[in-house]
């Protein structure tokens, strides 16, 4: 055993970097109903981009109404945001569309069109899109009880500095978090419960139980956080069937736990005398956001891309589209502001300079003579950056290295938005696609040499 | 004496084919049967021959059985799937029709309802296997039966095979015997020499072979057979003999009778196929001295 002798095939930088400058109009759209949208619009405009702010309210100021619901704000924060609104309203780089809803979108980075209020698509062109929408938090209470609340409400209580107070006025001694009641597996809730639980246990000696279906260790630092929580005395249970709640004078939860025993041999657990139960909410995506995501082939998953690199916190699966605010479920005001700025900066990097240099070697390329136009790549591409060009003259595609006049009906990769991930390469049944900078032969050659 | 006993006895068997009516008037059908009563060992009742829609072999055989005839019930594969075929075999047994003849059957597109859906779920060999299974007490899928039938099973045999086909046919005969065939009825025989050659190859299997003898009604019919029906060849000698005779009907009966007489030494029986000349069958029997 050693750590020195492994043969390693690394990702090549590029064969021979070939930078192609493409022009990108510094024009962006910010569809929003969330303060994060204002932050992004302000930042992008201040960097010199032409920004169209699209929102459904009478005035820009109305966007701030949500600030109160979501976050705890003091007068300093309020002042900061009032100044933000003033800047947005005054900035000549920002044109504001009041009372406007988004009903769809299409296109690619550098050439997006937004459908607003059912108008023609041509109505709004933009090179990039930064969006931020509210999400409606829905707490599914088993029955009406003041001591059963959602995460958002609980965070607000804590942030008000009343850590040991429950909504019922009772001193908080026994607390249970119940996760995974909704369908979607959202890691933020586990993360929040673990962090808050550890804090409450350590700082105030609150007895904390966390009930979940599955431990989510898939984020950075989660394993460590779980360990810390356990060491602090937070008890984590795993249930199979939905826990049963009982109300009355004393709030209790009954469920079958599988964390100590095996799945086949569960243990009946009853948590009694709870002062507070915090339920994981489900979040309802805004109509406008849904229409936008569907139109751009992003989908909810694509909007929440959370790559391991936290630098890109605002990225979606599409180049030229970033998200912030409630669209990504941040926890605190500071988080929200950071994400919004990071997202805006990301979009500025792509769209701000008027030109963009692309290494056309670091992309996938289709060999049209092999392409069976099966549409696999078109369906699979996370960036939606493959088009199929089947009909007529306008779609004729002359390939590299082919004689002039050689035309094929085939898929074509848009080099501008291709990120070189290779998903299309690995799925193509005709083996018609290759990553130019990292062809299959590299891998096959390495295997042959080293095995 | 039942048909099975006749087979065992080794005597030369006489079978007559009697086509069920296309309709429900049984008068002619029964008339033809009565005309040969006591002079033949069994009456073969074909099922949907050449895919022409008519009364089923099962019903017609049962009518004959009730009138005291020995009937051979025919089950071809063309128009029923394995479920119906097995059920039909069970039905034949409970009606007392325990002598059956299994063949591949004809495609509907040569019959009078050419648009019908072709079935051929099972081939002849698979149906023979099914019959074997039924007699052993379970169906083709291996499910147990509540009471097993017992049959005397016949299969077909293309006696017109020559050259490469002959090898295949002999192989097929062997296979069918393994699948429980008790007797064979051949395709129509006209060429005795050729048939003798084939019989030399299948004789060692020691399974009774019954040769079909078709009553040749006219020279036109002979020519049609030579042109359109694979595996059956009317030799020139027979055609020229017919041409010479002034009384074609008489010639026809004599030719048939002489064929039957030559076959008496070659195989274990004949099945007379009248093809519309049912009324002439007694004359053929007379001419043969049966």
């Amino acid at each position: 055993m050693s750590t020195q002798m492994n043969s390693v095939l690394r990702l090549p930088e590029s064969l021979t970097p070939e930078i192609q400058e493409i022009s990108i109009a510094p024009v962006v759209a910010v569809p929003t109903d969330h303060p994060a949208g204002l932050i992004m619009a302000d930042y992008l405009a201040s960097m010199g981009l032409k920004v169209t702010l699209i929102h459904p309210f009478e005035t820009v100021g109305a966007i701030l109404e949500t600030l109160n619901e979501e976050f705890v704000i003091d007068s300093a924060v309020e002042e900061r945001f009032l100044a933000l609104i003033a800047r947005v309203e005054e900035n000549k780089n920002i044109s504001v569309l009041n009372n406007t809803r988004v009903s769809g979108g299409k296109g690619w980075w550098g050439d997006f069109s937004l459908l607003v209020d059912g108008e023609k698509e041509e109505a709004l062109k933009a090179s990039g899109i930064a969006f931020a929408y509210r999400k409606q938090a829905v707490v599914k209470k088993p029955f009406e009880n003041d001591a059963i609340i959602g995460f958002r409400e609980f965070s607000a209580l804590l942030l008000k500095g009343k850590e040991s107070i429950t909504p019922t006025g009772k001193a908080l001694q026994k607390l249970a978090f119940v996760l995974d009641l909704g369908k979607r597996d959202e890691k933020w809730a586990s993360m929040t419960a673990i962090k808050l639980g550890t804090y409450l246990k350590k700082a105030f000696g609150v007895q904390v139980s966390i009930l979940c279906r599955e431990l989510k260790v898939s984020s950075d630092g989660m394993e460590k956080a779980y360990r810390e929580a356990r060491e602090a005395g937070v008890i984590i249970y795993k249930y199979l069937d939905e826990p049963q709640f009982e109300g009355g004078a004393s709030l209790s939860i009954n469920f079958r736990d599988t964390s100590f025993m095996s799945d086949d041999n569960p243990l009946d657990v009853s948590l009694e005398g709870l002062d507070l139960v915090v339920l994981q909410e489900s979040f309802v995506t805004a109509e406008d956001e849904k229409a936008l995501l569907d139109g751009l082939h992003i989908g909810l998953e694509g909007a929440y891309v959370a790559p391991n690199n936290p630098q890109f916190a605002g990225r979606t699966s599409r180049k030229g589209v970033v998200a912030a605010g409630n669209s990504r479920l941040p926890e605190t005001l500071a988080d929200m502001e950071t994400t919004a700025l990071a997202a805006a900066e990301e979009l500025y990097q792509w769209t701000g300079n008027g030109t963009y240099g692309i290494d056309v070697q670091r992309v996938a390329e289709v060999d049209p003579s092999k392409c069976a136009t099966c549409l696999t790549c078109y369906r699979i591409c996370p960036h939606h950056s493959i088009r199929i060009e089947p009909y007529g003259e306008r779609n004729v595609y002359i390939t590299k290295g082919e004689k002039e006049g050689a035309t094929w009906e085939a898929a074509r990769v848009l080099v501008e938005t291709c990120d070189g991930c290779g998903l299309c390469v690995s799925e193509c049944p005709a083996k018609a696609i290759q990553l130019i900078y990292y062809p299959d032969m590299d891998v096959y050659g390495f295997l042959k040499e080293n095995l | 004496m039942g048909f099975a006993d006749h087979l065992k006895s080794g005597e030369f068997l006489r079978i007559v084919e009697n086509q069920p009516p296309k309709g429900v008037d049984l008068e002619k059908f029964l008339g033809y049967a009565e005309a040969v009563r006591g002079r033949v060992d069994a009456i073969l009742v074909p099922e949907l021959q050449t895919s022409v829609m008519r009364l089923s072999s099962l019903s017609a055989s049962k009518v004959l059985l009730d009138k005291g005839f020995e009937a051979i019930h025919h089950t071809p594969c063309g128009h029923k799937n394995r479920i119906a075929l097995q059920s039909e075999l069970l039905g034949a047994f409970v009606l007392g029709l325990d002598t059956v003849w299994i063949t591949r059957g004809d495609s509907p597109n040569i019959g009078d309802n050419p648009d019908a859906k072709e079935v051929f779920d099972l081939g002849e060999n698979e149906l023979l296997a099914a019959a074997k299974h039924l007699q052993e007490g379970y169906d083709l899928a291996g499910n147990d039966l509540d009471g097993a039938p017992s049959f005397t099973i016949g299969a077909s045999f293309n006696a017109g095979a020559t050259g490469r086909d002959l090898e295949l046919e002999v192989l097929g005969v062997e296979k069918k015997i393994r699948l429980g065939t008790d007797y064979f009825i051949t395709s129509p025989i006209f060429d005795i020499d050729q048939f003798a050659e084939i019989m030399a190859k299948v004789q060692p299997f020691k399974v009774p072979v019954i040769a079909t003898v078709m009553i040749l009604k006219s020279i036109g019919m002979a020519r049609y057979i030579n042109k359109h029906i694979d595996g059956v060849m009317v030799p020139d000698a027979i055609i020229s003999r017919m041409m010479k005779e002034p009384d074609k009907e008489k010639a026809s009966i004599e030719i048939t009778a002489s064929l039957i007489r030559s076959l008496q030494t070659l195989c274990q029986g004949v099945c007379i196929q009248p093809i519309g000349w049912e009324a002439k069958v007694p004359h053929v029997l007379d001419a043969c001295g049966f």
């Binding site: 069976a372 099966c374 049944p429 005709a430 | 597109n109 648009d115 019908a116 859906k117």
Partner: protein, 222 residues
């Protein structure tokens, strides 16, 4: 498009048992698109065969090739050289490809690596469904563009059979009742009166029931 799926590995290995060197031939047409016999499947299957045989201590040499289309005699040329070297060819084209291989290379066994399954389309990526039975006598104009021959499990021309429940077929709750679909579509089209007419019994003679079919276009023959 012709939809096919790969035969079980056991079956493929059994077929290949007598051979030491084979050609694995894919096809660049339908089976590429339904991801059963394209270049990728050729690569993966070849590796699988080699692995299994190596493991069994009876190694086999597998040449790989994906032909443009295995359903045209002209493209058979592509395989000529390779066929000289091998004991047999395992074709992962549809049944047409296998037969054309058998016909072209008469002295070498042509083995099928796929089960050619039906005429259909991908309902979603990775889900293929049957839509046409190639019966040779189309009735789609009478049935709202939904084929009762291919999609009704009893191929009823004047359905429904009465066995469907909640619009699902009695054979499985995953199968939609074709006659429910036909009814819905005709209703949407305002053509429900179509259902009052009785469609005459099907002419199966145009289907496989009339024997192997053949189309001769004298105007096209060269």
């Amino acid at each position: 498009m012709i939809i096919a799926e790969q035969k079980p590995m056991e079956e493929i290995l059994e077929m290949l048992a007598p051979y030491k060197k084979i050609l694995l031939a894919g096809c660049g047409a339908c089976v590429t698109v339904c991801q059963a016999g394209g270049e990728k499947e050729v690569g993966v299957l070849a590796s699988q065969i080699r692995l299994a045989r190596k493991d069994a201590g009876n190694p086999i040499e597998v040449l790989e090739m994906t032909m443009t289309r295995q359903c045209e005699p002209e493209f058979m040329e592509e395989a000529e050289d390779a066929m000289k070297e091998v004991d047999a060819v395992l074709s992962i084209a549809c049944g047409i490809g296998v037969q054309l291989m058998a016909k072209t290379f008469f002295d070498k066994p042509a083995l099928p690596g796929l089960n050619t399954t039906f005429l259909g389309f991908p309902e979603e990526h990775g889900v293929f469904t049957e839509r046409c039975a190639a019966c040779g006598n189309c009735v789609l104009h009478l049935t709202g563009g939904i084929c009762p021959i291919a999609r009704c499990s009893k191929s009823l021309l004047n359905g429904p059979c009465g066995g469907s429940q909640d619009g699902k077929c009695e054979i499985s709750p995953d199968v939609e009742c074709a006659w429910q679909l036909i009814y819905d579509r005709l209703k949407a089209l305002g053509q429900l009166e179509n259902l009052e007419n009785i469609i005459p019994p099907k002419k199966w003679i145009t289907s496989r029931d009339g024997g192997p079919r053949k189309i001769v276009r004298e105007d096209l023959r060269i």
